[in-house]
């Protein structure tokens, strides 16, 4: 029996979607992962596709996504989420399948899979959380780490000479004919959250049209590894990450014909 919530006469305008579990999230205060999870699950609930959605979360801070998302999920080896998702989608082509990957996962160890999954135009959604570091393993350099940025493996700041350039893999992905919809969003303000939600919704809707891979980058933060308060991290994000990773659509389905 559903127990009506105690509203004392007020109207409920915001609540936890039932596509999220009651498990408290382990993410650090101010981390973008939790909000990104929630927004994605709100879309799944609103589209009414909980019973047809399968998610894949690889090793990384979000490996426990299956504790929070109330849908069928698979955990994947580091870097292989999009291959796992391809395997699922190929045998269950009518389901909605997404991978949810960090920058180390998607743009370093899993670069091969990323390029080939998109190039084959697998009809999945790839969610790419770009926080510029390896969060889970304690803040080492990621392929997306900005030049000069200090991490535990670039203690004097990232240098081109030794560590090469930060990788804008989303721009690369957008070049591939198999990509249907490629966009770069953020998750640190109410406005960016609303835009992200629209992007997730569009990406899942396109999936049904079988036009190729949808790829949503979320430029996010990692207050713990960046050694900043959440507010400082979001300011730093705007001042440093956005100029190198500008927000906006990189490819729309209409262009892919």
């Amino acid at each position: 029996m559903d127990i009506p919530p105690l509203t004392n006469g007020y109207e409920i305008v915001y609540k936890k979607p039932q596509t999220l579990t009651d498990t408290p999230m382990h993410y650090c205060p101010g981390c973008g992962h939790g909000v990104a999870h929630r927004v994605l699950m709100e879309v799944v609930e609103e589209m009414g596709i909980q019973d047809r959605t399968i998610g894949v979360a690889p090793v990384g801070c979000s490996v426990f996504a299956y504790d929070y998302m109330n849908i069928d999920m698979q955990e994947a080896p580091h870097g292989r989420a999009s291959a796992v998702a391809s395997g699922i989608k190929r045998v269950l082509p009518d389901r909605y399948v997404f991978s949810y990957q960090g920058d180390g996962d998607l743009a370093a160890i899993g670069t091969g899979e990323t390029i080939h999954v998109v190039n084959r135009g697998e009809n999945i959604l790839m969610v790419f959380i770009n926080n510029g570091v390896y969060g889970m393993t304690g803040g080492q350099m990621a392929p997306t780490t900005l030049l000069g940025m200090k991490t535990t493996t670039t203690p004097y700041g990232r240098e081109v000479k030794t560590a090469g350039h930060p990788l804008r893999i989303t721009n690369l992905v957008a070049q591939l004919p198999g990509a249907c919809y490629v966009t770069r969003q953020a998750v640190h303000t109410p406005t960016t959250v609303r835009k992200l939600k629209k992007a997730f919704r569009a990406a899942l809707e396109y999936q049904q049209k079988q036009q190729g891979t949808c790829f949503v980058e979320v430029v996010s933060n990692c207050p713990s590894s960046w050694k900043m308060t959440p507010a400082e991290a979001n300011k730093w994000l705007e001042e440093n990450m956005f100029p190198f990773y500008p927000l906006g659509d990189l490819k729309l389905p209409a262009q892919s014909n």
Binding site: M73, A83, V84, G87, G112
Partner: protein, 361 residues
Amino acid sequence: MEEKAEVRLMKGNEALAEAAFRAGMHAYFGYPITPQSEVIEYLMAEQPSHPECVILQAESELAAINMIYGASGAGARVMITSSGPGISLMQEGISYMSSAQLPCLIANIQRGGPGLGTIQPSQGDYFQAVKGGGHGDYHLIVLAPASVQEMADFVFEGFRLAEKYRNPAMILTDGALGQMMEKVVLPPKGSLPYPEKPWATTGKTKDRERNIITSLFIQPEKMEQINLGLQAKYRQIEKEEVRYETIAVDDAEILLVAFGLTSRICQKTQQLARERGMRVGLLRPITLYPFPVEPIAALAAKVDAVLVVEMNAGQMVEDVRLAVEGKCPVQFKGRMGGMIPSPEEVLQAVETIAEKQHAEL
């Protein structure tokens, strides 16, 4: 119309591929490597007659094994094949699948190693196949065919065992068996039933909790319980699934032990030895894991000596020694690097043992 079994002349690799269709495989993900490329080539050529089956050439064995992981987790009957370097590349994924308890059938059409090695047949991957291969405590169920017929039969058996135990199964064979042509009787399509897979991630419907496929158990207490569960499963497999074959062992003084291709060579040696009046028998392990420990131990108590023959530097011989437990001497005869021992070469080794045995009397 009811389909019937069919007799054909085929290469081992083709028989394996055709058997996979007939065994109701849903998906195959692979990558070319000699001497197993005929498998994916055959599957691609025949796929139009099996539209329900997904056949995909992946960008690497690494991607392929993870596609297998995803598809198996989604409930599909899946197979992957490769050789040497490709199987090595898959080990992380195989370890994950063992922990997440995902059934799949892997065939290793062995070539000579280490490294890039040679494309000639070998049995050098025995350790990798039966001792785990990747990280952590786990076992694959390992079947070793010795004919083209068994290349086909063990596909059915491999799928059945993998699904029964929710465990990866491996067909450990070699380039010679993969390439040789023999008569094969192929079972009809649809003869292998699909078990229920209530654990599969097919979409969380209202009537059930969400399904999660994972190998992550961060609490050591939980991880130990998972390990204990896996070990209990392996003990059950060891109890119930041991398969082997013996020839002329009742009065044998010397026991040959060999699997796969070398068991066929030893069969010839065994005949030659009998013709020369030597009492030689043969035991062929069909399952390499679970290993036929008890049958070997029982025979070791009766024979004067055991000779293990392999196309490697001596791998299965270690398991034979563990089974024999010092009851009699265990000798080894091997060739490496893609070389195949001849029956006469093995006979020489048998004669040396026989002479030594008589000298000691």
